[in-house]
């Protein structure tokens, strides 16, 4: 299966807390009238200028082994290397909110509208994550329809550049997935254009296979530690499929 998915901009609109988090504003902080106004304007601009889209393609374990190996630059010991071999299903994916939103952010900075530019950047980053969440959920639902998942199973995504998977892994991923069809290209530095894009692998399997200690050498350099939150969500400790407080 290889499928191109369209995602409505409104669906990709992130919740307020995830936007504010990237601005260094803690949840529950009292917001000034100006900050609230910026958040609203940035959200409107995101709806106007984002063009979310995704491509997903199934991969077998041997196929993904080739993609994952990439140029042979991964860390010797990684959680994904263990996890994908125990998976029930794997799918490569790429998701973007498009180039226009990045151009809008650049224009705002050039006209000294720094606060709105930075807020739109945060909305777009959180929106890209949200779009990736949607793809993850759709893949999970698809497996569910096919009778391949049940309560003890789950789907989690991993991306090159994180958890010991070297950025150069993008090359093989792009060869296999061909996200150029939705306008994502790979630059020499393995960076994607549009900048607000996420690529990686969706891993489906028993929830237990995703449990790992964040004690790998590269974990100490990781600032986001988002794996902890995502694993917790997967295990149902804080899961809510309902959208809360979209900006």
């Amino acid at each position: 299966m290889r499928e191109i998915l369209e995602i409505a901009a409104d669906e990709a609109r992130p919740d307020q807390d995830s936007v504010l988090e990237t601005q260094g504003i803690p949840p529950g902080a009292e917001l000034s009238k100006e900050v609230k106004g910026l958040l609203e304007r940035a959200s409107d601009l995101f709806l106007e200028s984002s063009r979310p889209g995704a491509v997903v393609a199934d991969a077998s374990i041997p196929e993904f082994e080739v993609v994952y190996k990439g140029k042979g630059l991964n860390e010797a010991d990684t959680p994904l290397d263990v996890i994908f071999r125990k998976a029930d299903g794997l799918a490569l994916f790429a998701v973007t909110v498009g180039q226009e939103v990045t151009e809008k952010i650049d224009r705002l900075f050039k006209t000294n509208d720094f606060a709105l530019g930075a807020m739109l950047d945060s909305v777009a980053s959180a929106g890209t994550d949200r779009a990736a969440d949607i793809v993850e959920k759709q893949y999970s639902d698809l497996l569910s329809e096919q009778g391949k998942t049940f309560r003890s199973k789950g789907v989690l995504r991993f991306s090159p550049g994180y958890c010991g998977w070297h950025m150069s892994g993008q090359e093989k991923l792009f060869e296999f997935l061909r996200p150029e069809d939705i306008g994502i290209t790979l630059l020499e530095s393995y960076l994607m254009k549009p900048l607000k894009s996420i690529s990686g692998v969706l891993v489906a399997g028993d929830k237990e296979i995703f449990l790992f200690d964040d004690s790998y050498p590269f974990c100490s350099e990781c600032r986001s530690r988002s794996c902890r939150r995502r694993i917790k969500t997967l295990l149902g400790e804080s899961r809510s499929d309902e959208r809360k407080g979209a900006v």
């Binding site: 601005q23 000294n112 720094f114 606060a115 150069s168 530095s189 960076l191 254009k193």
Partner: protein, 213 residues
């Protein structure tokens, strides 16, 4: 209220239109442009920087104040045509070769200008040679490099090596920053400083400028 205090206060509120008007009014009242810049605009940004450091305000408020500062500077700029805008040092900044992320670098640039530095922003995807040639030509005190990708971090090392190889390390300092970069990495590659956020970067650049002049 003294007009310079009013400029500073309006700037802290992020009122760019009023700051522009008050700056023009101060010029009309024959207040020296240098005083307007130092006591009104930079003075206001210094207060904002301190409040941000103390977590009393958040990034959006800092950036609204920065926009107000730029509005005031636009009024003053023509008055400094001959000698150029006064500055406390010159910094060349950019995201390193292969890296297109520039929000973090932009924020550092905004804060540096707010603190009174002249900033030459080379944008993103900047090669080591370009950092060094520009800093040399412009007589910059500091080069500031940003990277968001682990794959582009080696460019920082190459720039430090090139600077040292050309015998310029005594004159030009190097500060690095960005999500995957750390104090340890800065030491490892021989950079002079590491900025973990925009306000910390400004403090480090101030120290570096003192050390290199």
């Amino acid at each position: 209220m003294d007009i310079l205090t009013e400029i500073s206060e309006r700037l802290q509120q992020g009122d760019d239109e009023r700051v522009s008007e008050l700056t023009a009014k101060a010029v009309e009242q024959k207040v020296s442009p240098k005083r307007i810049l130092d006591e009104g605009l930079i003075g206001g940004m210094n207060v904002i920087g301190e409040k941000y450091k103390a977590h009393e305000i958040f990034l959006p408020q800092v950036l609204l104040a920065a926009k107000a500062m730029y509005a005031g500077m636009d009024v003053l700029r023509p008055l400094f045509v001959k000698e150029g805008m006064p500055n406390i040092g010159k910094v060349v900044i950019g995201s390193v070769q292969g890296d297109l992320h520039d929000i973090g670098k932009n924020l550092v640039g905004i804060m540096l200008k707010g603190a009174g530095f002249e900033v030459i922003d080379l944008g993103n995807d900047v090669a080591p040679e370009r950092f060094i040639r520009t800093a040399e030509r412009e007589g910059a005190n500091v080069i500031g490099m940003s990277a968001l990708l682990t794959t582009t971090m080696p460019v920082m090392k190459r720039t430090v090596e090139l600077l040292k190889g050309e015998g310029l390390a005594g004159k030009i300092g190097i500060i690095i920053g960005g999500a995957p970069v750390s104090e340890e990495f800065a030491q490892q590659i021989g950079a002079d400083a590491y900025g973990y956020d925009s306000t910390n970067a400004v403090e480090s650049v101030k120290r570096l400028v003192r050390a290199k002049t």
